[in-house]
Symmetry: C2
Subunit: 188 residues, 2 copies
């Protein structure tokens, strides 16, 4: 399957608006990869697939996560988190992607994790700052991204945590561990 | 050893200002116990001992935690957290307190934990709102405490988390798990 065929299949999984978001994440991931010295082709491939399951029925997303036999603890948390590990499993099983770094960039694009790889950081940050995103603080993230991947990502995850605190929603513990890990490294 | 003898020994462990804080936590713990139906004597005993190790050298605090053989993960986090499990061990070993609820109220007074007991909540909240405390938001905690132990405690832990985010310091994961647990129960 070539790039264009894959893109057509991905596009069919989601409404047009979300597809435009995926295009934005692809473009931003490639740009960040070039800027920070990662492989642009890997970054683009992870970006193409990162939201593959986002508009599936949530019980289908859960089924895929269960089928994968890993990341099962995510099912005890918000449904918004399920599409990431589900898409990583689809990438591996349906599209035969074997590169662990690409799979992990898909798997952890929402929550992050401690010790994120460069590729994981790039796709996670691209998801926050792609041109279609418009939330309070996104401009600051884009400014930070120009000089520091880690500072931008930290600001992104902290923003997420603060919104969840404000909205009285559960904060996914892995997101806090990711934020703590970035703080520890940046404060060194 | 009677109450007065214990109080004299505790008083010798800390500067006068911290002793005044302990007196405030004792008074507030007794009041909250009476208000919310816990045992005032247990609440007072936990309060008397909760900061026993607070002004010890940090390496002595760490030594006591290691000696206890539990809560060892706390040693990977901020030193401000060590005095609580250290004091729980002193309460058990030096003062032969066997009541697990009292020991846990001491052990978790800083971080909380999911599924806190009534006594644990009381001592944890008293530590936030005793009359000597003066930080932004403390008056709101005192108001909430008049009607809901859980709402007041949630506001306390959330305040702690926000301050740590603002100060770019590590958030102890157990504090977030405690906050999530309170949110889940209050949102039911």
């Amino acid at each position: 399957m070539n790039r264009e065929q894959l893109i057509e299949i991905v596009r069919e999984q989601m409404p047009e608006k979300r597809w435009q978001h995926t295009l934005g994440v692809m473009e931003t991931s490639v740009r960040l990869a070039e800027q920070y010295g990662a492989d642009p082709a890997k970054a683009e491939l992870a970006a193409i697939l990162h939201d593959y399951c986002k508009y599936w029925q949530v019980d289908e997303q859960a089924e895929v996560v269960r089928e994968s036999g890993r990341d099962l603890e995510v099912l005890e948390y918000d449904k918004q988190l399920w599409h990431a590990p589900a898409a990583a499993w689809i990438a591996e099983e349906t599209f035969q992607i074997e590169d662990e770094d690409i799979l992990n960039a898909i798997r952890y694009h929402t929550s992050g994790r401690p010790n994120m790889s460069l590729l994981e950081k790039i796709v996670g940050l691209a998801d926050y700052i792609e041109p279609g995103r418009d939330f309070p603080g996104v401009e600051r993230l884009r400014e930070l991204a120009a000089t520091s991947l880690d500072e931008a990502l930290l600001a992104g995850f902290e923003g997420t945590i603060r919104v969840l605190l404000d909205q009285r929603k559960i904060v996914y513990p892995l997101t806090l561990l990711t934020r703590n890990d970035l703080v520890a490294k940046l404060n060194m």
